[in-house]
Subunit: 330 residues, 2 copies
Amino acid sequence: MGVSIKDVAKKAGVSVSTVSRVLNNGKYVTDETSEKVMKAVKLLGYRPNIIARGLRTKKTNSVGLIVPDITNEFFAKLAKTIEENLNNNNYSLLLCNSGENEDKERKYIKTLLDKFVDGIIFISSGYDQNMHLFPDDLPIIAIDRKPNAKRVNFISSENKKGGYLATKHLIENGCSKILMLKDRKAVSPMNARLEGYRDALREYNMLFDEDMIIESEVELEYVKEKILKIHKRLEFDGIFAGTDLLAIGAIKTLLKLGYKIPKDIQVIGFDNVLTSQYYNPGLTTIAQRLSEIGERSASLMVDLIENGVKNTESKSYFLPVELIKRDTTR
Amino acid sequence: MGVSIKDVAKKAGVSVSTVSRVLNNGKYVTDETSEKVMKAVKLLGYRPNIIARGLRTKKTNSVGLIVPDITNEFFAKLAKTIEENLNNNNYSLLLCNSGENEDKERKYIKTLLDKFVDGIIFISSGYDQNMHLFPDDLPIIAIDRKPNAKRVNFISSENKKGGYLATKHLIENGCSKILMLKDRKAVSPMNARLEGYRDALREYNMLFDEDMIIESEVELEYVKEKILKIHKRLEFDGIFAGTDLLAIGAIKTLLKLGYKIPKDIQVIGFDNVLTSQYYNPGLTTIAQRLSEIGERSASLMVDLIENGVKNTESKSYFLPVELIKRDTTR
DNA sequence: ATGAAAGCGCTAACAC
DNA sequence: GTGTTAGCGCTTTCAT
């Protein structure tokens, strides 16, 4: 291979341990020898072998990120900031796309452990089955979807408040029959949003009607079908969609049916994806502070790795959400 | 740490080298001893230490992926299929987000080399400055943006043909003054699309007019401004946008100006991003076979790693594109 | 077919 | 302050 620490030692006329010292902390070394060493390093173009170092130190300077679907704009943005921030702290990111599949998820966790990552940032596919795979002494951070099973650090948005704000917005704009459109997944953020919806109804003394909660796949066709059915059976003048894509699917269908938006029906989404901005009409929505979630996750991870993990005192953070008013509400 | 090969050897009553043999190829070992070893492995829950193995073998079973922006749906889809396919072949993916930044790109390449990845899949930020950093004996695959500087394996779509198909489609639908809207980047796929545009004009004996080539940032606001200016100065009845987002920005503005689409002006995009499907009206566009590009890249990479690299005979693949007709063309 | 032993490149006691 | 040395856990000659 290339040049090793031995070569540097020889060139500098010192021992390997001295070289190692210089490179790692620089403590207990004269400035003089230190200089000699650095000169040799530069001269030979020496770069430490990270693998060998890892074998000794049990540290790889890499962290694993497990996402359900990197194609989902939400997770992509998260991945991006996490990667950036980790990288600034000299950590690499191993990306794992679980595809919302528990078996794959399990396999990935094992692979990451085999690779001796220094920590794992975990966006669960929604179930807790795999939580027990994480060793107690490995830094773990869960994002977005809270696992129940085990105590882990958890970072997310104020989803409940988001649902509340969205619903309140509709109510204050005159809606009295509000549909809540949710996806099929039994996953914590969506449930929190639903709770927020109920909270708002309660606050305004409107009664909660189970029938107004509509479940659908996120696919355009599914939403379309759902709305087609619903609009015959139910009367409504507002929709709170748990996801922008759900909202847009609904709007697309509603427009075709001849409804005016926001005149006849007002719609609000969740997530503020790019499409919600580009869409026609622009979608009113609840935005999460994704880059903050990402930053916070990365810095917490670095902290856990470098300043010790105390799984006994795991933390939860809930970052603020914000209503973005566009053209689908009055 | 955990259980090592020594423990297994002891448990099975054989030497470590025998255990190693059993685990790696199984050659030169009796079925009997092999069985003993496997039993011990299972009993102890032994998992080989990949780091230690890597130190010896110089193989890490990981490949680096450098993308300009994982937030871009195009790259995200690519990353997803690449990751999936690599994973099926027992390789992990190190994700690097270069942010279209050459310095970061360089830093990432160095980091990946330091980490001894077995190969690098590279979506360049458009410049060739960093190509020389790749060692000659490391498997390299460039995707989407072709580097000139050096001979590397290259996988992409038939961008030129895409531009041709798009323009031809407009022409055959009656357009006679076609704007080409492109981004600011001096990057190969966009230029190929432009070439295709010229080819189509030539074929139909329409003259190419430099003024009809409009450059803009991809941001909604920029596009809007551009279109606002253009529409006073120029007459046009068709737009070929080099990117869906560019197309949608244009449409949004045109609609506000009172034009009917596709009646007054027809528009076609490129990439078939999700938004183009959700958008209102649905955007006619040219689709690339992203998953095929991803698959091909991954399998080529595995092939290069496992069956030897011959950088002397690097390959180029250009995958087919397809016109998807929606509502912005007649 | 199996074992002993060297060594991948590094860090960290431990001596001095 | 600096050098010597023993490993980290594995693969791979080289004997036998």
